[in-house]
Structures are given as structure tokens and as C-alpha cells.
Symmetry: C2
Subunit: 415 residues, 2 copies
């Protein structure tokens, strides 16, 4: 398996586009005479129908596109997705109607059926979507569809809200001698921008697989990747993960578990892990990616529950911002995680490219070099390594630090 | 029932003291030649043995004083409490020993038994407690014991960490014709300073009540007061609530439910509500007290679960800091609270001394006056009022806004 360029168009038979429709305010660069504005409308389309599977927000308040998409992919088949940023199309007048209209307009321009499209939105909630801008832009959007890496780049940028970096990845590998591709784009972070639509991620592959097996795979991969990102504990109304598999790689269709299933799952795992880490690293206001890695656990679930509490603790996150080796907060967060463990057996260390510092052994303080700890914690990627000495299971969760900018970004996002 | 001064010494037969022992760093005012430093050691003592009941942190990682205090009050009797700030005496060498030594030294100076004392600590965890400073200061602490309002003030200040205001209250009322008093002091906030020992609160009353009925009362009052404060979702290793009832008011001992039980509970409820609100308002870096009030619920538990999620949401808290009427975040937090409710029926309004603004009706946006909303949300106390239209139950939770200063305070607290 090797990393390649192309994101969502790396797989054979997929095209993409991203343009400015006018949902986001237009910002013309002053004095340059340049036209246009921030991209806010994206489409991904397969040349042939795809096996489709997705996972969606668990929030009881769901945005309209979630209901529409669930209905459209219920049969396990989908041709493409249309998505906008700038407005979540949630808790606002006519939201269900507008989600349906987006699919209908996409269908009209592509000669397909509305039910062939998934739809997603991300942005502010409680304000009516500017559907007219989207409908008027649909011909330009479909005209821009192309199988070029710049098209995936455009689509990735068109779903961004407060993201500071586009999130895109693709891999090439083989299945039964055939060359296969899987790639994806994403925006936001699992729980970072809940009212902006939080996390959207679209993954494409030219592997051939049945909708049933694809659905199973998604339920194995998402809980170990996107669901292990925590930024502020808030879960959005719009979270959407969707994978489309069009079979154009020509491999024997995966219809049961086995070697091919495992290989494709490994590729999907790699794509989703990469996108999940990029989300955590680009958490609102974040200056570093913070991974909490819990090992020596009795079960993966126990390890995950502990890692999530540590990575999600406001106090741990603030300490990481200050590069402060305040390991007491790590133990404290583990203690209220709800997961059982023996505090008297826990080891804690901080690790990064600058080295490793052990700070706690068997639940009690270790003397350590404060200057080294400061250096270790000042890097862009920091790992909080926890060892339970209770078993052999392991899990990691990804988060980021809590900074002044998080407060700034969220103190007046709506206005 | 009327509010009076005196805090923990308002009740007959209680004395208190607070001094600087040297656990906190001494800070001498430059150029004044003044001696001493921040108060960090407190004692509250009853002239006669008290019925005692408490509630403690649910964190799996518990500080040593928690274990010692639980053992000492297991029989339902206690004479006083000794407490320090500046060090949590948790996850550090000799912590259990030092907690016992604090009680033993208090006993020696007062002619009581170590088991007659509860002990509590709050401050940084993982560093060994400066027990020598505490033991050497014990004679001065007991010598300073007095039944004067300034003594309660001293004790309240001696348990403060990053608190910016002391938290103290007392009430006078009658039970069966006898004048009775109940008062308390507190520091921190339920989940605000987890590694500083978070919340400590000590309440005294001269009411006569059996330990059994006092225990029942505590379990009725604490869940509706202190446990409804949420600041950052972190639960400390040191949370301690303790009430001492010495019976010196001379009322007929409360040994069962009835009118007297209800009156004393109402007083305890008033004391704890006042202290809980003061904690929330003094949340680290907070600029305002934010109450989420959920009414029209089917059950109190449902209302509390929803109110807690809203008051605890980082995004809601950041919006409150910015005085931004971003009600979508309120609905979103309700949606992931885990409590069932019908989003299509929910009304949301913001309320303060400056007025009230309805922003959402039946789950959908209402047009509202943005300028008025800004004014309403810019006050020191703000209420997020949610109506479910499902029943008649109600609950409120108290929190505060999320500010730059929270990040600043917690980014480098330990150093």
C-alpha cells in the first residue's frame, strides 16, 4: 500500500468539483479585481453506480440532509454526493425541502435520479439555507466535474468551514492482482465544530464490494478512526461519513470476509486514520495534535474509554497548550472516565519527536527533568502514553490542545 | 428564614480559624515589611460532638484525605475538620500518612482523638505535602479558633486556590420554637479545578438531628445543589462536602421525616444552593454565571440531564463569553445529552436582568432583536430557558462562560 495523490478522484471512475455558489459570504481580495469567493459547494460523482455505506451523527437533533441521505442510500446504492458549507441546513425553515432540492438539481444536471445522490451540509444552524444560490450554481458545479487531483482539492476546500487546512489522502494497493485505489476528503473534527456541521468525510474506492460487506466494514473502521477524535466533547447535528465503492478496479467482488476484505479494510483504515488525525490536528485554535495512547489494558473498550477521557479533558488540553507536564490531570481524567482500572498500577509518560519523559510510575510521582518535559511537550505532535499493566489491549484517541484561539473562534462564530 | 453573617460559626458552639502555614508559597508585600502569607490551613471545631454526614468525589482516583475522612465519620460522629489548600495530598509519596498526621496533630492540640476529625486537602496533585509546615502551624491554628465572623472568613480564605472570591453564607430559622442556624463555606467548583482539589464545602448547624437522618438529607440536597454545578466537566480527586450538626440549638432531635426535617432540609438547601451558585459564578476565568433552566419536562432527571449538557458545552460556554445568541448550540448540546426529548417541541429563550429574548419556538428559528439579545447576554447572570412542553418537571444547572482566562489559568497552573 502506498500513498498517492488525487484524494477522492484517485479511484478510477470518480470525478469531483468544488466552486463558490454564494452560501458563504463572498470576499473579494481588495484591489486585485479578482472575481469569485470562498468555495462552498462540492460534488463527487461516479461514472457507474456504487455500493454505498455511511455512518451519521448520533445527536438526537439531526440536520435535514442526514434524513434525506439515509433514505437515499438505504438500498446500498449511490452515484454521488452533493455538499455545501456555510450553512448546516438544520433547525431552520424548509430544511428538509432544501435538502431534497439539492439532490433534485444535481440529478437534473447529471441525468440521474434524486435518489442517486447523498447530500450533506455544514455551517451555522438555525438560519435558512440560501437554496437559490445553490440551485443557480448547479450547472457550473457539474460542468466543473473532472478526474484531476485539482478537482479533489477543490471539493475538499468547498466543504471547509473554520478548518485551516484541507484534509485529503489516497492510497493504492492490490486486491487479487488488480490495482485498487481508496481516497477521501474530510472537514472539521468529530466533535469540534458541532454547530458548523462538525465532521464530513467522503471516501471513494474503485474496489468491488457488496453493500452489505461495505456496511460491515464501515462499522469496523469508523469507531476506530473518526470516533476516536475528540475536540470539545460536542457532537454535531450534521456528522456524515460516506464511502462509495464503484467496482471499476475489476477485482472479484468482495462478498464475504477473507483476505480481500481484510486488505480493503486496511486501506480504508489507513484513509480514515489519516483524515481523523488531520481533523484533530486542525481542531479549532489548536497548536498541536495530542494523542492519548492507553496500553496494557484488559480490553480495547477500556483503553478507548480512558484515552477518550484524557484527550477530551479541558484541563489536560489546557496543560498541553502550556506545554505543562501536569500528569495529575491525566490520572484525574482517567478516574472520572467511567472505565475501571487500578490507579496504583498506572504509568504515565509524555512522548514526542523530542524524546520521552516518564512522570508517573505505579500511580505515584516520579522525579523528572522539567526542562526536557517542556521541550517534549512543545512539539507539534505529542503523545500521552498510559500503561495500565492489566492486559494486552490498546487504543489511542486523538485530540488537540485548548487555546485562546478556540475561545476566540467560538465566542462569536455566528455573528 | 433570614440570611445572617458568620458562615460556619453562625451556628452555636462552633469555632473556626484560618492561617498561613507555609503550604502555599509565601508572598510578602514588597517594601511593607509585613509578615505572613496566603492563608492555607483551616479548622472548624464544635464544642460538642456532632452528627456528621458527607458526600465525596466519585472519581476512581481518590486523594488520601477522602479515605481517611470516610473512615473517621463512618460512625456518624465528628467534632471538627482540618483542611489545607496549596496541595491536594493525592498521588504523592506518603499521602495517606500525612492525612492521618494532620488529624493526629489537630487531636493533640485540642485534647480530642484523631478519629474526631475530618481532613481535606486541595491544590496540585502528585507533589508531596509539606507536612512539616502543617504540623508546626497546628498550635497557632488551634490558638486562633474563635466564634467570630472573622474566623469563618479566615477559614473560607484558607481553603481557596484559584478562587477569586470567598464563598460563605448562613441562615437563621426556627425548629419547634427554637432558633436554629445553618451556615457554610466553600471553595472551587464541582468540576472546575479538578487537580486543585476542586470543590470543598463545610456546613455547620446547631440543629439536633440523628446521623441517619442527616445522611439522608445530604443525599437529597447535594444532588440538587453542588452536583448541578458544571464548569469544565472534570471531576476532582478531592471533592468533599461535609455537614456537622451539634444539636446546641436545643430543638427536639430530628429522628424521622416530618415538618422539622423539611424545615432543616430547606435551610440546608438554601445554604448549598447559595454556595453552589457562588462556585459557578467564580469558575476559573468566568465573567458570568450561566444557568440553564429546563422546564416542561417529564421528569426532573430528564430536565437535569439536558440542563447539564447545555451548561457544560464548551461551545455554549464560549458563545456566552461572546454574548452571542447562538441557540443552535443549545439544541445541539441537548441532542447529545443522552436524554430523550422531542426537538420539534422545544422553545429556547435567553433571560437576564436586562430582559428576555425568545430565539427558538417548536425547534425552529424565531426572528429576534440581535441588539437586545446582546444586551441580555452581556449581564453578570444569564439564564438559558428551555421549555420542552412534555410535562411539568423542572431542573436548573449552573455553569459559567469559557474565557481566555480559563485557558490562561489552566495552561500553566502547575508551574
Amino acid at each position: 500500500m502506498r500513498e498517492i495523490s488525487g484524494g477522492v478522484i484517485a479511484a478510477k471512475g470518480f470525478r469531483a468539483a468544488g466552486i463558490h455558489a454564494g452560501v458563504k459570504a463572498t470576499e473579494l481580495p481588495v484591489g486585485t479585481g479578482a472575481q469569485g469567493g470562498k468555495k462552498d459547494l462540492a460534488m463527487i460523482l461516479s461514472d457507474v453506480p456504487c455500493a454505498a455505506a455511511g455512518m451519521f451523527t448520533t445527536n438526537r437533533v439531526k440536520a435535514a440532509p442526514i434524513y434525506v441521505t439515509k433514505g437515499h442510500i438505504a438500498g446500498g446504492v449511490c452515484c454521488g454526493v452533493v455538499a455545501n458549507s456555510g450553512n448546516a441546513n438544520a433547525c431552520a425553515p424548509n430544511s428538509r425541502l432544501h435538502a431534497v432540492e439539492m439532490c433534485a438539481a444535481a440529478a437534473e444536471e447529471t441525468g440521474l435520479l434524486p435518489e442517486d445522490f447523498a447530500v450533506a451540509s455544514t455551517g451555522v444552524i438555525g438560519q435558512e439555507l440560501n437554496i437559490r444560490a445553490i440551485l443557480e450554481a448547479m450547472p457550473a458545479l457539474t460542468a466543473a466535474l473532472r478526474a484531476d487531483p485539482s478537482a479533489s482539492d477543490d471539493a475538499a476546500r468547498a466543504i471547509m468551514t473554520t478548518d485551516t487546512k484541507k484534509k485529503e489522502i489516497a492510497f493504492e494497493f492490490t486486491l487479487g492482482g488488480k490495482t485498487v485505489h481508496a481516497g477521501g476528503i474530510a472537514k472539521g473534527s468529530g466533535m469540534i465544530h458541532p454547530n458548523m456541521g462538525t465532521m464530513l468525510s467522503f471516501v471513494t474506492t474503485d474496489a468491488a464490494i457488496t453493500p452489505e460487506m461495505l456496511g460491515q466494514m464501515v462499522h469496523e473502521v469508523v469507531p476506530r478512526t473518526f470516533n476516536r477524535v475528540t475536540v470539545d466533547g460536542d457532537t454535531s447535528t450534521n456528522d456524515t461519513f460516506l464511502v462509495l465503492a464503484n467496482g471499476m478496479a475489476g477485482n472479484e467482488t468482495i462478498a464475504c470476509e477473507g483476505e480481500d476484505y481484510d486488505r480493503l479494510r486496511a486501506a480504508l483504515m489507513a484513509v480514515c486514520t489519516d483524515l481523523a488525525r488531520k481533523m484533530a490536528a486542525d481542531g479549532e485554535g489548536a497548536t498541536r495534535l495530542v494523542t492519548c495512547d492507553v496500553s496494557g489494558a484488559q480490553t480495547e473498550q477500556q483503553a478507548e474509554q480512558l484515552a477518550r477521557a484524557v484527550a477530551g479533558s479541558s484541563l489536560v488540553k489546557a496543560a498541553m497548550f502550556g506545554a505543562d507536564a501536569n500528569w495529575g490531570r491525566v490520572l484525574c481524567a482517567m478516574g472520572y472516565s467511567g472505565a475501571p482500572f487500578e490507579p496504583e498500577q498506572v504509568d504515565v509518560a509524555f512522548r514526542s519527536c523530542a524524546g520521552e519523559v516518564a512522570v508517573c510510575r505505579a500511580g505515584s510521582a516520579l522525579p523528572f527533568d522539567e526542562a526536557l518535559a517542556k521541550t517534549v511537550l512543545s512539539q507539534e505532535e505529542v503523545v500521552i502514553a498510559v500503561t495500565l499493566h492489566e492486559g494486552t489491549a490498546q487504543a489511542a484517541c486523538w485530540g488537540c490542545d485548548l487555546t485562546y484561539d478556540y475561545v476566540k473562534i467560538n465566542g462569536d462564530y455566528r455573528s
